[in-house]
Symmetry: C2
Subunit: 139 residues, 2 copies
């Protein structure tokens, strides 16, 4: 496998609205998407474009949201995961498993509408890593 482009950095926040204000007013972001719910993942997300990648703001959705524990440990929010693109999600899944990396669950549809999976931070230098099939529009 060849390291793909960094699609986004996932940043957990207790309030997407407050974080949007920081990216818009302090950081000068000019391309900020509309926030939307991902009920199957238990999160509400919003993408902020930088010139070369994206920030994915992530707010808990529902009591069982998987990012609640992260926000309990980091109440102000913070960097949650890194997401890299791959051309073929099934090939990537087989690759990570062959390397002995712990894949969390089965591939599912991610925030960009393509299949994704997560790899446990213990096998990735402490970084929760999302692997995402590239959107076809980019090819």
């Amino acid at each position: 496998m060849i390291l793909g482009r960094l699609n986004h950095i996932g940043v957990a926040t207790p309030s997407i609205d407050d974080s949007i204000a920081v990216y818009r007013d302090v950081m000068g972001a000019t391309a900020i998407g509309e926030p939307f719910d991902l009920p199957a993942q238990g999160v509400r997300v919003c993408f902020v474009d930088t010139p070369n990648t994206q920030i994915e703001l992530i707010e808990p959705l529902g009591d069982a949201s998987p990012i609640r524990a992260f926000l309990e440990k980091n109440p102000a929010g913070g960097q949650h995961h890194l997401c890299y693109e791959v051309p073929d999600i099934q090939a990537a899944l087989a690759w990570f498993r062959s390397k002995g990396a712990k894949v969390l669950g089965e591939p599912r549809t991610g925030a960009h509408g393509t299949p994704i999976f997560f790899v446990h931070p213990k096998d990735m230098g402490g970084v929760l890593t999302e692997i995402m099939e590239s959107p076809r529009e980019q090819h």
Copy 2:
């Protein structure tokens, strides 16, 4: 200020050598720099290229290293900061101060040899943020 490109994601690690092995053997990175010491910052660093940005691996250097506390809280390592480029470090410094964001110390020379400063996570949605003057070679 207009949001600049994401120069790198700083990832703290207890062992740059172990992290290099992950990026090379599991993630498939093909462009990994030589690690080098930054004694003035109390860190040893190594840059790993992705197609569109870089990962800065950061290992403590010396007992007073500013990342020791982070590694005590996150012994396996993890995402430490995000670094954005600006065209003019002094203009950016004045901007962040005008927005009431807490700048940590004065500008100093960063790992890429250009002036940098850090902004406290409390004013940046929980993300420790490095602001870096773009290397001139890129222009």
